[in-house]
């Protein structure tokens, strides 16, 4: 099963190496890893998407907790959480194709952020499924470059049942 794990880590030399190395050294999967600054100076928040049965996920959590640089480990999968991925997609676009591409962009609530005579660069945000979908819609036009961030996620503050 897919798990989204949120980590609060010290922003030290080698933090990322230690965490990524622990995954590869113990044969755990990383579907995506994304890291950046957070609300507290000197710390980073890392979102790791991984897969495994309950035993493997338990080991992953324990091993992450064992890393000295890791301050907090939260497996969001157990809770309600929001998640997003951002993709920048550079696609071939002749003048004739532009309107059709712009229509796709609109349907997916994406944005065109750069325009040149032969290409468009599109910023798309959403779940991985949505990003996959817009990429597959754009593929027929000819993808030049695709860059994706991997999932970032946060726990929902309101964990109750809306009904």
């Amino acid at each position: 099963m897919k798990h989204t794990i949120n980590l609060l880590v010290e922003n030290n030399v080698g933090s990322l190496l230690r965490i990524a190395g622990m995954f590869s050294g113990r044969g755990f999967n990383i579907d995506s890893i994304s890291v950046g600054a957070c609300e507290e100076e000197g710390l980073s928040r890392m979102t790791i998407v991984t897969r495994g049965d309950d035993e493997i996920i338990e080991q992953i959590n324990k091993q992450l907790n064992k890393c000295i640089n890791v301050i907090k480990v939260t497996d969001l999968t157990q809770e309600a959480f929001v998640h997003r991925e951002l993709a920048l997609i550079k696609v071939h676009a002749t003048q004739a194709e532009r309107p059709e591409i712009m229509q796709i962009v609109e349907v997916f609530r994406a944005k065109i952020i750069d325009l040149s005579p032969g290409a468009l660069t599109i910023e798309a945000t959403g779940s991985e499924d949505k990003v996959d979908a817009i990429i597959s819609m754009l593929r027929p036009f000819g993808l030049k470059t695709v860059s994706r961030t991997g999932r970032v996620a946060l726990k929902r503050d309101f964990q109750g049942n809306v009904n």
Partner: protein, 582 residues
């Protein structure tokens, strides 16, 4: 990227007055001060370009004893042996590049056995890091998977706190090696020196005390057992919990088996002792584990050399496990009752809650097994059997020596035939199985425990991997003893080739190329004897134990094709046990 630096600056501001009045020292001088404050009396090291300024400080400052080793790997193993024997962190200091990479096997050895080690590596100057400078290696990257943690010193102001943190991390929780990379300019730069404050690491708070609820559940659980077995691992020794383990076993009235690293945590002379379990454990320990209804793992991690085939391991028992490292619990074997905490603290509390369980019938059964299937070997009239050498040494030293093993057949014979009565006396590379460990580890142990007899027992194969450390022992007149169990083979591999590969002895016969070990030892300046029979052995032991001013090397010739039994083949179960031909 500079979180630690930012926090240090903050602290520095708070302590500005203190800072202004503090003496200005170089990084090298600060390092020595900080090590002394950690209670370090001895470090094992080898100099080089990146450390030359630091070595100048050793010339002037005699408070910290620096022992020059012969090879950096030996330095790491010696620091490891020192740590295993004393319980304090061992410290090894090496230069950048090859000096650092030579410690890798030593670090991995300590990591696998959770030994507190501080590895200080020189590094090229900060501004040259990453430029492929002379003697540069990314030692932080290289050792990431084999250290508990590591640091690169980026500002000389951080040095004091870094050292404090490193010792804290290495020696608390589940101990392990911590590496500090020291760029040359950090050792030369000067700053105000004042001792480090309290360590507070947000990401590192080991659980020491067991949860009270779990302790009560455990007491309940234990009382229901009819056929309990206590299975003690190295964690019991690391946590200095021998007294608590012994009390626990007696209170509960349950037999005790130890892993290779747990040997010494419970006196093997006790009626409740079953000796070692696992691949080369006793028949009765393995039988008891196979039949028990409750297996109590204490500071042990269900290693594959203990369990063999996991599906058939102790199939009818409930499992209870006490360990300070949560990741060890339920990793290989599902556990019915886990307790996270320090073995000493958990058992001290548990001992007040438990009573004798109903184990009388079980103990009688176990005693019967012990009688019917003892450890055994067949003596020969003319030569010596390796088991006999260990057994005789056990008698000659009354089971009270510190024995450092190397890796292979002799290592198993030590575990089987030396009757250990005290903790921190059996030093063995269990997890990594590092040939070459024995010679330097014995040296380090003798330096840490000068009042005790320390014997390194090694095979003729492993001896040659680090025999150059005899030079270190001679250099400092360390009266450490070595016994080479010389069978002319890489014996353990040969044994597997005999049993599983139809006697095809591929690359395991050493005799034609072995040096004259007596002459080799003598050329270093050690005292040496060659031993070929029991009379010579007795006389050699007498001389060996009397010498107190230099190392002794006994080259003991034993039956070349003796095998270690019992043996449960890899990934086998109790039903596959081979008892040998006696």
């Amino acid at each position: 990227m500079f979180a630690t630096a930012a926090r240090t600056t903050e602290k520095t501001n708070l302590r500005k007055a203190e800072f202004d009045h503090a003496p200005r020292l170089s990084g090298a001088e600060i390092l020595i001060e900080a090590l002394l404050r950690e209670g370090v009396d001895t470090i094992f090291g080898f100099p080089g370009g990146a450390l030359i300024g630091l070595y100048d400080c050793f010339y002037k400052n005699k408070q910290l004893r620096h022992l020059l080793v012969t090879h950096e790997q030996g330095g790491a193993h010696a620091a490891d042996g020192y740590a295993r024997a004393t319980g304090k962190a061992g410290v090894v200091l090496v230069t950048s590049g090859p000096g650092a990479t030579n410690t890798v096997t030593g670090i991995a050895t300590a990591f696998m056995d959770s030994i507190p080690l501080i590895v200080l590596t020189g590094q090229v100057p900060s501004n040259m890091i990453g430029n492929d400078a002379f003697q540069e290696a990314d030692i932080l990257g290289i050792t990431r998977p084999i250290t508990k943690h590591s640091f690169l010193v980026r500002r000389v102001d951080e040095l004091v706190e870094t050292i404090r943190q490193a010792f804290h991390i290495a020696t608390t929780g589940r101990p392990g090696p911590v590496l500090i990379d020291l760029p040359k300019d950090m050792l030369a730069a000067r700053t105000a020196y004042f001792p480090a404050g309290e360590v507070d690491l947000r990401g590192y708070k080991p659980t020491v005390r067991g949860s009270l609820r779990q302790l009560r559940n455990a007491a309940n659980f234990l009382q229901q057992a009819k056929k309990p077995v206590i299975y003690i691992g190295g964690g019991a020794i690391l946590s200095n919990a021998s007294a608590e383990v012994t009390e626990f076993a007696r209170e509960l009235n349950a037999p005790v088996t130890t892993t290779l690293l747990g040997i010494g945590a419970f006196p093997e002379t006790d009626d409740l002792s079953l000796g070692m379990l696992g691949m080369h454990g006793t028949w009765y320990a393995n039988k008891a584990v196979d039949e028990c209804d409750l297996l109590i793992a204490i500071g042990a991690r269900f290693d594959d050399r203990v369990t063999g085939n996991l599906e058939k391991f102790s199939p009818n028992s409930k499992k209870m496990q006490i360990d300070i490292d949560p990741s060890c619990i339920g990793k290989n074997v599902p556990v019915d009752l886990p307790i996270v905490g320090d073995v000493k603290s958990v058992l001290a509390e548990l001992n007040t809650l438990i009573e004798k369980c109903d184990s009388e019938i079980w103990l009688k059964q176990v005693a019967l097994w012990k009688k019917k299937h003892p450890l055994r070997y067949r003596k020969t009239a003319d030569g010596l059997k390796p088991q006999q050498v260990i057994e005789e040494l056990s008698k000659a030293t009354n089971g009270e020596a510190i024995i450092a093993a190397d890796v292979g057949q002799h290592q198993m014979w030590i575990a089987q035939w030396y009757k250990f009565t005290q903790p921190r006396s059996h030093l063995s590379s269990g997890g990594l199985g590092t040939m070459g460990f024995g010679v330097p580890a014995a040296l380090g142990a003798k330096i840490g425990c000068p009042g005790r007899t320390v014997v390194g027992i090694v095979g003729d194969g492993g001896f040659q991997m680090t025999s150059m450390e005899i030079a270190t022992a001679v250099r400092y007149q360390i009266p450490v003893k070595y016994i080479i169990i010389n069978n002319g083979y890489l014996g353990m591999v040969r044994q597997w080739q005999q049993i599983f590969f139809d006697k095809r002895y591929s690359n395991t016969y050493l005799n034609p190329s072995n040096p004259d070990f007596k002459k080799l030892a003598e050329s270093y300046g050690a005292f040496s004897l060659r031993v070929k029979n029991l009379d010579e052995l007795h006389s050699a032991f007498k001389q060996m134990l009397a010498i107190d001013n230099r190392p002794v090397v006994l080259d003991v010739w034993v039956s070349p094709e003796e095998n270690v039994f019992p043996m449960i083949p890899a990934n086998g179960s109790f039903s596959d046990i081979l008892e040998g031909e006696v």
